[in-house]
Amino acid sequence: MKKIIYLTCFLAIVCAIAGGALTVVNDMTAPVIESMAIEAEKENLELIYPGADFTEVENTDDTGLILGIYEAAGQGYVYKLQNTGYSSTPFQFLIAFNLDGTVGGYQMLQSSETNGFGARAWEDEYTNTILGLTSSDAFPLLSGATVTSTGVVEAIDAAKAHFNALQGIEYDENAVAEAPALATGNPVALNSDLADYNATVTDEVADGDKTTYTVTAYGFGLLNGQSDYSENVFEVVVNNTDLTIDSIAMTQFGDTAGIGDKIDTPEYFDLFKGATIDSSVDTVTGATFTSNSAIAAAQAALNAAGGQ
């Protein structure tokens, strides 16, 4: 019986010495390894807080979206995030929150999203909306880049959760930003030359002082001569007394699904209300051709009403 005690003690002592020695060496080399890891990330972090000294914060995130969390002493926290968007290779970007909760920086590291759509998530238009927000706001999606921006917002939410927990900021994490702000811009005058959209009135129904025109107009596909596209058909109601547009609606959609059909929202068509032949109406960014075909249809209706 003595034998077993001797054996067990001996092995236990050897393992104890082993454990102790390992801890000593680990305490010696761990800081070196950690500082080396930060060195590698440094030049990315400099993009946001130039000149700050960074320490790595323990990454307790289990969503797998946060690759690394770095604290810029006295300035804020930088999160290195990764998610998959439209393309199969995941994109990586940095989001930073200042200590007061405002967004300190938003920087793309690598992404192979389709440019013109997904890649717009890192162009100034979306970047400015993000830079204006704080860690307790809900981040909006980006119309025309829904797949990518959903991935971006999902990753930022993970970073927000960590940051707010760290700073003890209460926030409503499942608040969803209101319908994605329809990015509209560069207005087109109703009297401009839209002849190649070939807007033709196909039907006219007078109803008291209002007439409803059914107008067909070319869209993105037909303009570029691509097959299996058809015209867009709009119903424009014109008020005959002051020749203004009472309302406009799209009854048939013939352009690229997922892109052109974004204009088919009341929010956009309300912009036409009260427009006369001399006023101008915005186009939806990312769906310029379809917007122009709507404007060409409105112009044809106004011309037809004006012709009376």
Binding site: Y6, F10, L11, L22, I33
Partner: protein, 214 residues
Amino acid sequence: MNKNKSSFINGLLTENPVFGLYLGICSTLAITTSLNNAIGMGVAVIFVLTFSNIIISAMRNIIPNEIRIPVYIVIIATLVTIVEMLIHAYAPSLYSALGAFISLIVVNCIILGRAEAFASKNGILASAMDGISMGIGYTLSLLVMSLIRQILGTGILSFSNPFTDATIFSFTIIPENYVISMFKDPTGAFLTFACCAAALTAYINHKKKKEASR
């Protein structure tokens, strides 16, 4: 003293750990795709093997016979983890090259084999010498293997300083389109190893026959 010298010689040739005793084949086959991997691994094994031999031979009288193997394994595991940490901290490029193989040195039969066969029976100095000679024998076999595989497999013989990653020398021996890429794959590894082992056995048989005939 000549006992240590003879153990030094036989460590290299007759009792060559890799081709003679077939110890440590796992890492030999896998790591010898490039020269600096081989040398890096060889140096790590020399370090671990020598220190483990020294520690084990120092404690050889204390260790009870029944549990000598587990004690050896724990000592070697500690040493390997320490080596891994040091390389990770101070030679990062070497660390990324050797990766999983550093932690496999523990189960690498060569260290356990020598610890059991030699270190547990001889003095500290003899064990240290044996550790170094076995380590050098191991590194030489790695070198032979990686030379053959790298030249035939990629046609380029290059060696870079593990600490600063700067290539020290690199010249092409076989032009690109005559390269036998099979030698980079496992098949080539097995074949090269088999031929080297056969060559060594042939050499030893030939030497024995010469001594017998004299």
